[in-house]
């Protein structure tokens, strides 16, 4: 078994009376690509900041490569690279100068820094624009420059917070491809996102965050199999009867929205079509259409957080 690189136990952080992170337990082994999934405000970024030692936890422990990032920050920072959400660079400097600055902060010699900068700019396909001011870079280019910085520092662990946030589909794919390369090069990657498809394509494991807690941890396949059991999406249209009140009585059914075409969207744990059809007819209604399909991974993911939200409420 690969050694554990990131280990968080009972991590808790509150801001006033609001508990941002509530007893998070997380382990990441060497070479893994783990996705932290969850809606905005679920506690992903706060957890990441505590892992990096940029925010002090109220309680719980963190070990990165066996070290406490709050007590031994320099050793941890030497091995861990961080790409924040919407990474910021000095706009008045070129991409190359920005990297040169962080290389100097990291203690690289001038020659070594120049060699590595040329190498990584090539790798992230910014070599042609490396001498242009960062102010002229697109958001995708900035994110790639952020990845170049991690590559330049040759970190063992990369922690990426919402790296594809605000990117167009092509830039997202480019960035995910680069992150995938990290893992092939042996880097351990922890990536947070609120988009399932972002992490689905590159992560070996996912942790679902909701309201400061991790509700599910497992491989993408485990998540998919859970989804396979998690239900059906049903669309029904009928005249002369109120579908919403009729379906609400059925066990395991959540009534969703009504489409402009007059079809009701329902989420059900089992295929309720026969029972639904029987009730419509028994109630004197006229069934116009009735469709069902198993929930896709994305739909199940959304539903997971909706249900978790209802439970909390």
């Amino acid at each position: 078994m690969s050694p554990i690189v990131i280990e968080a136990k009972g991590l808790t952080k509150s801001y006033g009376r609001h508990k941002a992170v509530d007893g998070v337990e997380l382990t990441v082994s060497e070479g893994e690509v783990v996705g932290l999934l969850g809606p905005n405000g679920a506690g992903k970024t706060t957890t990441i900041l505590m892992l990096l030692g940029l925010t002090e936890a109220d309680s719980g422990t963190v070990r990165i490569l066996g070290r406490d990032p709050w007590r031994e920050p320099l050793q941890v920072k030497r091995e861990v690279g961080y790409l924040p959400d919407a990474v910021g660079f000095y706009d008045n400097l070129s991409g190359r100068e920005n990297l040169r600055y962080t290389a100097r902060l990291g203690g690289l010699s001038a020659d070594e820094a120049e060699r590595r900068i040329a190498e990584v700019l090539e790798k992230v396909r910014l070599a042609q624009v490396g001498d242009r001011r960062v102010a002229t870079y697109s958001r995708g280019m900035r994110q790639r420059l952020g990845l170049a910085e991690l590559l330049m520092r040759r970190c063992r662990v990369a922690i990426l917070d919402e790296p594809t946030s605000g990117l167009d589909p092509q830039s997202t794919q480019d960035l995910l491809h680069l992150i995938g390369d990290f893992a092939h090069d042996g880097m351990t990657v922890l990536v947070s996102s609120h988009l399932l498809d972002v992490v689905q394509s590159i992560c070996t494991r996912v942790a679902l965050f909701n309201r400061g807690r991790i509700g599910f941890t497992g491989t993408v396949e485990e998540l998919s199999s859970r989804v396979a059991d998690s239900g059906f999406a049903i669309e029904v249209a009928a005249d002369g009867i109120d579908i919403a009140s009729l379906a609400a009585d059925l066990p395991g059914v959540t009534v969703g929205e009504r489409t402009p075409e007059g079809r009701w969207q329902l989420a059900a744990q089992s295929d309720i079509r026969p029972e639904l059809a029987r009730r419509v007819i028994a109630g004197g209604g006229q069934l116009r259409s009735l469709d069902a399909h198993r929930l896709a991974l994305g739909e199940a993911y959304t539903r997971y957080f909706e249900e978790a939200g209802h439970e909390e409420a």
Binding site: T55, E72, L74, Q75, P84, A86, V87, L105
Partner: protein, 318 residues
């Protein structure tokens, strides 16, 4: 308690040099320096005319260039005392919150350096730029002085001039530390700039009006007791010294005028045996204003410490 690994000063040079480079090429620095140069030019023009007319026989002509005023123009030292805080505030008001707003702070703090280095580096970078600006102005004044007066500066002129420059740097350091403290506490750069400017206005302009009022309340004069007049004067002096501008004014007057013997009242008994008008040595003048210099250094350190403590405890999310 376990000792921290590595030096808190690692990376400080890199940050300070980058800050200095950013400042030197920034539009705000160019604007304030232009203002300083224009007023310095006017001040030296006035000083040269005044010196030619009145004090051509002084042994300290180059110090007079800095201290002599030709109405309605202020002296170079007075002008510097008023405008230098503006330069320091311009360099420091967005030192920390600017990094948060550019979203560069978390990336910089994720590098293998301590937070200490970021704040020290920013402060040092600002001081380096102010130091370069002051040295340039002083050399410019001296060069113009040589041209117009036709004399080289004496050793005492240079020694006192350098001591004055160091004291001026401490004075600027107070305002730089104040601006950095506001930039640490307040997230919006415009607000931190306004807050620093408000403090500057109160302490540099209004304090001289407020101090007598406060002194008259704290130490009222009793018409039957002449000592109360002296007590009120001392109270006024102490209250006035809360303003760095007062401290700097006292230091300037003592260092740039070798004949000055005190910043406070002098009694007849103290003058017995003294050669009135005889200059003090540079060392003696420095000893006389040592409390003022120490106060300026202390104020700078206190303000920087406030910024340091706040910054160390700050949540870094951007």
């Amino acid at each position: 308690m376990r000792k921290r690994e590595g030096s808190p000063f690692k990376g400080i040079g890199t940050i300070a040099l980058k800050e200095a480079a950013d400042h030197i090429t920034s539009a705000r620095m160019h604007l304030v320096m232009l203002l300083l140069l224009l007023t310095a030019g006017a001040a030296i023009y006035g000083a040269v005319n005044e010196i030619r007319a009145t004090t051509a026989e002084s042994n300290y002509l180059f110090l007079a260039l800095l201290a002599v005023a030709h109405a309605p123009l202020p002296s170079f030292a007075s002008m510097l005392g008023f405008l230098l805080p503006l330069l320091a505030i311009a360099l420091g008001f967005d030192a920390v919150n600017g990094e948060f707003n550019r979203r560069t702070m978390s990336r910089i703090l994720a590098q293998p350096i301590y937070r200490d280095a970021v704040l020290f580096g920013k402060f040092l970078g600002g001081l380096i730029v102010i130091g370069i600006a002051l040295l340039t102005l002083w050399l410019l004044m001296t060069g113009i002085g040589i041209l117009f007066l036709g004399l080289p500066p004496s050793g005492d002129d240079i020694a006192r001039g350098l001591a004055y420059l160091v004291a001026t740097l401490f004075y600027a350091g107070i305002w730089l530390a104040l601006a950095i403290a506001f930039s640490t506490v307040v997230r919006a750069p415009a607000t931190s700039a306004l807050a620093a400017l408000a403090v500057w206005l109160v302490l540099s302009v209004f304090w001289s009006m407020l101090a007598p009022l406060i002194a008259s309340i704290v130490a009222p004069i009793d018409p039957d007791n002449p000592m109360t007049v002296l007590n009120q004067f001392y109270a006024l002096q102490d209250i006035s010294r809360i303003s760095p501008a007062t401290l700097y004014g006292e230091v300037s007057s003592m260092l740039l005028d070798p004949a000055s013997r005190s910043v406070g009242p002098i009694f007849q008994s103290q003058l017995e045996g003294a050669l009135v008008g005889a200059p003090l040595s540079t060392g003696q003048s420095i000893v006389l204003v040592w409390p003022e210099i120490a106060s300026m250094v202390a104020a700078m350190l206190i303000l920087f410490t406030i910024a340091y403590v706040v910054f160390q405890r700050q949540e870094v999310r951007a």
